[in-house]
């Protein structure tokens, strides 16, 4: 079964708007990561947040982690058409690199 569950499954916004997606997981983690996948391509790592961190920023990305609720959110600010992709959260339970991925949120940004 999947460890991470993303919400919403799909998101459609206009350029300049913010996009927020959420991830819930089931077991204790060492870290949680967000990846991006363009259609038919491999995944690209975006950001990693450790279990003892609550918030992290990278450019237009902001990630939060609430370990008490076993949830995380990814915010993309001032979205661009190039942000159109699927976004996946992945949890690292034992630091062996055996990440468990959710089903992803498909984001479409229209000009």
């Amino acid at each position: 079964s999947q460890q991470g569950e993303e919400d919403p499954q799909a998101l459609s916004i206009q350029e300049g708007e913010n996009a927020t997606m959420n991830c819930s997981y089931k077991t204790s983690i060492n870290n949680l990561q967000w990846y991006r996948q363009n259609s038919g391509r491999g995944l690209v790592h975006l950001i990693l947040i450790r279990s003892n961190e609550r918030e992290k920023h990278s450019g237009r990305l902001r990630v939060t982690l609430d370990t008490s609720k076993k949830s995380s959110s990814l915010l993309i600010t001032a979205s661009r058409a190039a942000d159109t992709a699927s976004y996946f959260c992945a949890t690292d339970v034992n630091s062996w690199g055996k990440l468990q991925f959710g089903a992803g949120t498909q984001v479409v940004v229209t000009p």
Binding site: R41, G42, L43, L48, W96, G97, K98, Q100, F101
Partner: protein
């Protein structure tokens, strides 16, 4: 930065035929390598991982096998493909080597889209 080569990019195979997907990586010696599968509209499922030559761990029982004949080569195989083997197969490399992880993030290849008909 890691460079991961996967081929072929797309593959259409009949049920019952064999499969061999190859992944090679550049850079780090003795890399930690992974095979993931992504079903249509789904997340990734870890199939195999390897921390060194000849060392393979399977995560789920299935119709597939993996081998690591060389340090930077990871191969996914099947003797007889099933319809349920269709999917997008991704090879990944983790930071660190030999089972030691210095950076938990994964680097992915561009994937192979396998259609079994």
């Amino acid at each position: 930065s890691q460079t991961i080569h996967q081929w072929p990019a797309t593959l259409v195979q009949p049920v019952g035929s064999p499969l061999s997907l190859e992944c090679t990586v550049e850079g780090t010696s003795n890399p930690n390598l992974y095979w993931y599968r992504q079903a249509a509209g789904r997340g990734l499922q870890l199939l195999f991982y390897s921390v060194g030559i000849g060392q393979i761990s399977s995560e789920v029982p299935q119709n597939l096998s993996a081998s690591r004949p060389q340090d930077r080569q990871f191969i996914l195989s099947s003797k007889k493909l099933l319809l349920s083997d269709s999917g997008f197969y991704l090879c990944a490399q983790g930071g660190g080597s030999g089972g030691v992880f210095t950076d938990e993030k994964l680097f992915f290849g561009s994937g192979t889209q396998l259609s079994v008909l």
